[in-house]
Amino acid sequence: MGQKNVILSFAIVGFLSIIVEVIFPIHYHPYYWWHAFIGFDYIFGLLGGFLLIFISKGILFPIVKRKKDIYERSEEE
């Protein structure tokens, strides 16, 4: 199974879960609007995942990565 098919199947299952949420709209404790927003968790997970990957791999990683153990030399002295 290729990667595209895997992505597609996850997207389809996600879409089905949203449909399930539409059919059975039971929200027990909507303290804020997003608790009652249909499909919010799916969108949040997707965008949040993109955001985290971007911040982590795109911003933080280039700042903190070093070629080798920078402490080694000073500890041998």
Binding site: Q3, D41, Y42, F44, K57, F61, K68, I70
Partner: protein, 573 residues
């Protein structure tokens, strides 16, 4: 008679290095079981104390709802982790494990500050030995750094406790309404153990360098005992909310690009403890229950994950994602058990992360912190991506990147992982087992239709996000900077420069002083020269025998004894 779990374990830990091999192996299994029974049988309200100096009573046993649940989970994990380490722990390591568990329980059961401090320091010392047990150069150095950081934290705690006790407050009480200097010292001391940013760097520095079983113990004890102390002493301190959120997110962000399995899991400890710290900061009864429940769940699934990672390291000799691959075909049992743990930490329904994380998130919305709720929710996306998906994709599936032989995994490792996985499932499916034992009454139902569908959606969406960027997420072998840079570079530099300045001053002063001394020496070396008994400068001072003019040493001793006896009787009577 009350059996004190910490004291039983402490006694066993002192005895165990000296007993023969066979008895040691039996003790390794039997003692944790005895402790488990002892801690289960503790009753709320039990208290024991012993007199100490200055009319202070050392309350070495005080049981309430909060301490009971922590002692219970600590004794469960003490059993599973000791079983895990059954076939290769040496004398010192076993003793360190026992003392580490004993001291953690001692902290949890302590009713006064002095007992707490004693066990706190014992916890730091015994866990350092678990790092050193690895016996290589990096572990030795990491152990020393670990010890220094904890010693620093312990001393801050000592300073705070010293002030508190000198004010006459020697019993442990909540200090959140009374944030004076002593409370701040205590808060920082505890925060170091709880790995709150930026005081966290000791954790990913030391844990991955410990032994396989050592890291299982460490992942469960130090930070969770600190969470216990925060719940007990600082509930509702607002700074902890944001401290927790920052831990939660930064831990996940680091874990997303870390390469070593145990480094990933170490950053995840920080992230998960972040949930608990934020919940302590929220301070409502629901939030505190959430913090305790999450600590309970976290100990289970994190020990399972560290056991899984340790077993992979044991079987293959590698723990980096850039070396591993295709493990599912080689050790499917271990992989499945690790996978259960990683689903539990991600909050998969019917596993225990789901039932405890939900309480914290609900508490955040009930206490009107919507932004905290969303940020914590965001961190759970990263948790799935980094502990579960990334590890699965790059080490369980695909092909091995380096060739290695698979060592046979001992049966006891499997048994302890299975027990832990079953417990994750039991507490996830029957959450009331845990909820009924939490410190505050609550009526919380995690398995609502709404809640389960939200979780399914967020897990699906996170997986999709990962699959979109699977090439970008590929792990790379790099060295990662963290806040320990501050005390490993600038602090070392400042210390070195300061000592250089001091040494220069000392040497120069010494030179002046030495010249002065040398210039007056000739006046003292032979008194007879001045008395003209020896006439010439060149004459050897053979005639002069200093012993001839000295009193015998017996006289000096006699005088000293007489003075001592005289002053002793004067002082005493």
């Amino acid at each position: 008679m009350i059996l004190h779990p910490a004291l039983i374990m402490l006694g066993a830990g002192i005895v165990i290095p000296f007993v023969p091999h066979l008895i040691r192996k039996i003790m390794l299994i039997v003692m944790p079981l005895i402790v488990l029974v002892a801690s289960y049988n503790l009753q709320y309200g039990q208290q024991q104390s012993i007199g100490f100096i200055n009319n202070i009573d050392l309350v070495y046993l005080k049981v309430d709802e909060l301490s009971w649940i922590f002692v219970f989970i600590l004794s469960i994990v003490s059993f599973t982790a000791n079983l895990f380490s059954y076939n290769y722990s040496n004398r010192i390591e076993v003793a360190a494990q026992f003392l580490y568990v004993a001291s953690s329980m001692g902290v949890v059961l302590a009713g006064d500050w002095i007992t707490l401090l004693f066990f706190w320091e014992l916890m730091a010392i015994s866990s350092t030995f678990l790092v050193w047990a690895k016996k290589d150069e990096t572990a030795k150095k990491a152990g020393i750094r670990y010890f220094l950081v904890h010693f620093f934290g312990g001393n801050l705690l000592l300073a705070g406790i010293f002030i508190k006790v000198s004010q006459g407050e020697y019993l442990i009480n909540s200090l959140s309404q009374n944030m004076d200097i002593a409370s701040i010292f205590i808060l920082i001391g505890i925060s170091i153990n709880a790995a709150i940013y930026p005081l966290h760097a000791w954790l990913p520095d030391a844990y991955p360098k410990s032994t396989i079983s050592g890291s299982v113990f460490m992942s469960c004890l130090t930070t969770k005992v600190a969470v216990y102390c925060l719940v007990r002493v600082f509930p509702g301190v607002p700074i902890l909310i944001w401290g927790g959120v920052v831990m939660c997110l930064l831990g996940v962000l680091y874990a997303m690009f870390a390469n070593d399995l145990r480094v990933i899991l170490s950053y995840h400890i920080i992230s998960q403890v972040g949930y608990m710290v934020a919940a302590v900061g929220l301070g409502s009864e629901l939030a505190l229950n959430g913090a305790v429940a999450h600590a309970f769940s976290h100990i289970l699934y994190k020990s399972l994950l560290f056991m899984g990672a340790g077993t992979i390291l044991y079987a293959t000799g590698f723990s980096k994602l850039t070396d591993l691959g295709g493990l599912f075909k080689k050790i499917p049992g271990v992989v499945v058990l690790y996978f259960i743990g990683s689903l539990a930490i991600s909050g998969f329904p019917y596993l225990n992360g789901f039932t405890s994380k939900a309480v914290i998130l609900s508490a955040a919305s009930v206490t009107k912190y919507p932004e905290v709720e969303l940020l914590l929710y965001l961190a759970s996306v990263g948790t799935l991506i980094s502990t579960c998906l990334k590890v699965t994709y790059y080490s369980f599936l695909g092909e091995a990147k380096k060739s290695y032989d698979i060592k046979k995994v001992p049966i006891n490792m499997y048994i302890s992982m299975i027990i832990t996985a079953v417990l994750c499932f039991v507490y996830g499916s029957f959450p009331n087992l845990l909820y009924n034992r939490l410190p505050f009454e609550m009526n919380y139902i995690p398995y609502t239709f709404d809640h389960v569908i939200s979780t399914v959606q967020i897990l699906l969406a996170s997986t999709l996000a990962f699959l979109f960027f699977v090439e970008i997420m590929e792990p790379k072998e790099y060295f990662l900077l963290d806040t320990d840079w501050l005390y490993r570079k600038p602090l070392v530099f400042v210390t070195r420069k300061t000592s250089e300045v001091v040494v220069t001053i000392q040497e120069n002063l010494g030179a002046v002083w030495g010249t002065g001394i040398l210039s007056i020496v000739p006046f003292f070396n032979n008194p007879f020269r001045k008395l003209n008994v020896i006439n010439s400068e060149n004459e050897t001072p053979e005639k002069y025998d200093p012993d001839h003019y000295r009193f015998s040493i017996g006289l000096a001793v006699t005088i000293a004894i007489m003075v001592f006896v005289g002053s002793f009787f004067y002082v005493r009577f």
